[in-house]
Amino acid sequence: MRLSLGPNQFYWRRTDINLFYEQMLETPLDVIYLGEVVCGKRDELRAADWIELACALADNSDKQVVLSTLALLESGADFSWVRKVCDNGRLLVEANDMAAVELLAEAGLPFTCGPAINLYNHRAVAQLMTMGMQRWTAPVEMSGHQLGEVLTRLTHKPEVEVLAHGLLPLAYSARCFTARHLGLSKDNCGRRCIEFASGIPLTSQEDQSLFVMNGIQTLSGEPVNLLRQMDSLRTTGVDLLRLSPQVHDMRAVIDAFDRARNGDTDLTLLLLGVDGYWRGQCGFDLIASG
């Protein structure tokens, strides 16, 4: 199985972003996705900057570099951003909205679909494959069993990717929850989400971890972690394991999955996080220790 680095969900400073990806070149990752996927107002890197960074990464490594597009388009500016990414002229694009699919399909370009595109069955997957989809990242709430049910019904299969580690992107809204938390309007947000490199945790009144607010996006409170599901991922037919960028311990996560794909279990990380979705349960169900 190949390891991929998903697009970063958070808003980091340009210098931190550059440093982060420079470090990623030194890892056993096979694929790197990058680009702004959450909010078109974030401007430490604009579309052209992301394309430049992606091309530089591609020039300096043998990893596959893929440009990801915004998940929720609202303004004309959001759409222009997506168009620029689709028109980059060199690198493969991950579509996270049907607008991107439309642009790429019309241009006759191959593409991958991210988890924000709703493909829940074989007929939907087959449809997008006729339009140029080569790789499919399953919706985050899809279980391993359901994924298997989709794949057994496909004569031609795309490459299959699953989010195997990191906070789960659960929802997108018109409202910016970070701005609201700070008492600011979205139009005057000051892009303050840059102060929260891992988002803002949201717990119940009993201190149970529930969600993480990240601008207009809501993430899971706990990271998904499918280290323990390596055998089941393999038998289901998953080709790529996606690891989502995080500000701390990214290297440790990558190394743990790299060892796991080579049959070596990493006990430190094994039980940290949730895997309910993959097991067909509630997403927040913790990894069973038994």
């Binding site: 388009l73 924000a116 709703n118 829940y120 069955n121 049910e149 018109a174 009144q205």
Partner: protein, 330 residues
């Protein structure tokens, strides 16, 4: 503008017709629609009765088949499309491209409406559905501002329907997994959000706790109005502050924007609420009928205080908002 109204039962459908609905949308009694709630929706016999009533009054009937088909039960969703066609529905409301592909191929003349659950927010996304499946209309997600709706209306390749009144989804529809994260069931896969079977009310010395699959969603004081524990409307804690971090219990009401929406060329106004009572449907539909008729007569459009009062009484937490249509809400 067409007034499109919800019905979860025959009495609600009659209430909608009697009070001025131009079109009524219903769902079948299974997980193929996004309001798969106990005791709700239409089996075959009821659907036929519904159609007879619709035809007798010269209105239109839409069938919502707007969840995402499961691979192992795809035939159930396919059969829902077949049943809608056999029934003679005027349109089906779909979200799943697998199902759209089936419907477009098998029934090329069937009118397809793109469900809000498909979350199409740009002309390019709409064009994708138009080009590949020939959709005729799209229901816009409740995430766009009025200005964005107006811009989209200028370039949209299909006619547009927008939400007028009802429960407010604060997340882009079809792109929210909060419910399955906590309860295992979601709008996309199961046609439910924060399902009733996961709700637990616990009296406490201080008042009432509302739980969803064991998770404390809200804690109500004695005498406080205890709302349904929808996940996004719970009171949670961030940075030691407790409050409605995502959204308050409130309903969407865009009546003030009716003239602007009409001028923008919006073809239909949708009322949310197939889970609501016939009395709710009657009051809300009558109010919107009067407003749309008033607008059609021309002259200056004012919201009658009676309308505002009726809508407010039928709102969650007795409050309404313009939601994302208005920038400050965002």
């Amino acid at each position: 503008m067409e007034l499109v109204c919800p019905a979860g039962s025959l009495p609600a459908l009659e209430a909608a017709i009697d009070n001025g609905a131009d079109a009524v949308y219903i769902g079948f009694r299974d997980e193929t629609n996004a309001r798969h709630f106990g005791g709700l929706n239409f089996d075959e016999r009821r659907a036929q009765q519904a159609l007879a009533k619709i035809r007798a009054r010269g209105r239109r009937l839409f069938v919502a088949i707007n969840t995402y088909a499961r691979p192992d039960r795809f035939s159930r969703w396919q059969s829902a499309v077949d049943r809608a066609v056999d029934l003679g529905a005027d349109a089906v409301i779909l979200a799943d491209i697998g199902l759209m592909d089936y419907a477009a191929e098998r029934y090329p003349d069937l009118a397809l409406h793109l469900s809000v659950q498909a979350s199409a927010t740009s002309a390019a996304a709409l064009s994708f559905y138009r080009r590949n499946f020939g959709i005729r209309r799209a229901v816009l997600p409740r995430v766009l501002s009025l200005k964005q709706v107006q811009q989209l209306a200028r370039t949209s390749p299909v006619e547009l329907e927008v939400f007028g009144f009802g429960s407010l989804c604060i997340m882009a529809e079809g792109r929210c997994h909060l419910s399955s994260y906590v309860t295992g069931e979601s709008p996309n896969m199961n046609g439910v959000c924060s399902p009733a079977k996961a709700v637990e009310w616990q009296p406490t010395p201080a008042g009432l706790d509302a739980r969803l699959n064991g998770v404390l969603i809200d804690r109500f004081g004695a005498g406080e109005n205890a709302g349904y524990p929808t996940l996004c409307k719970g009171r949670f804690v961030a940075d030691d502050r407790t409050g409605h971090a995502l959204e308050e219990p409130v309903s969407l009401n865009s009546m003030a924007l009716l003239p602007a929406l009409c001028a923008a060329g919006i073809k239909a106004i949708k009322i949310e609420g197939r889970q609501r009572s016939p009395s709710y449907v009657a009051q809300v539909v009558r109010t919107w009928r009067e407003a749309i008729d008033r607008l059609a007569r021309g002259g200056e459009f004012h919201i009658d205080p009676r309308w505002a009062d009726t809508l407010s009484r039928n709102s969650e937490g007795k409050q309404t908002t313009l939601g994302a249509y208005e920038r400050p809400w965002q």
